[in-house]
Amino acid sequence: MEKKLKNIFMDGAIAPVFIADSIAKHATKTDIGGHSIFLGQVRADQIAGKAIAAIEYTSNQEMVLEKMHAIREDIFQKYPLTCMHVYHSLGTVKAGEICLFVFTSAKHRKAAIDACSECVERIKAELPIWGKELFDNDGYQWKVNS
């Protein structure tokens, strides 16, 4: 397989400064009029008296990168985007930290906004990634996407 697959994985949480750097890099692209960003944050949900302290993410890594490549191609075909960046955490992300960062940019806002939200839906539905919700007082449950 010869297609060049862009890596989307980050070890652990996605830092706000990484997001800022990512935004700042677009200042030279003066044909961009709007950016849309989605950030997934780990919730400290309470389940039967236990709180989720962190999520441990694992993935079928190669398959994720192939699928993400296909999603990227679909979305660029559908929307007039200038660029699109996707990052997903692997390993442990604590409650309150960022685990998903989707960033689309376009000349006009509508394309950026629609592409971002479509991309988020497809990531959640189609990328073979799993979250193991770790309770603060030991034990875990497997995350279920709605």
């Binding site: 990634i129 979250g131 497997w142």
Partner: protein, 77 residues
């Protein structure tokens, strides 16, 4: 001919491992029977199977060096 099975998410709790070597049984359908016989709890689980990163169907024939991924519903993000 041995093939490699890899398991993800909650399926690893049932199999007790993230990968397993088995004798290739021909089709995916036959493979499923063998694996479920060994791990009956799998029969109650929801999963899809991918051969070499492509979601696949029961009548597909397994060939040498295939990697067979057993994947429960995705829960990224």
């Amino acid at each position: 001919m041995k093939i490699e099975l890899i398991f993800f998410g909650q399926l690893t709790d049932i199999v007790g491992a993230s990968s397993l070597m088995v004798d290739s049984p021909g089709t995916i359908e036959e493979l499923k029977k063998i694996v479920i016989e060994k791990y009956p709890a799998l029969a109650t689980m929801q999963y899809t199977i991918a051969v070499n990163n492509k979601i696949t169907f029961d009548n597909v024939v397994i060939t040498e060096n295939d990697t067979i991924a057993w994947m429960p519903p995705f829960s990224g993000g």
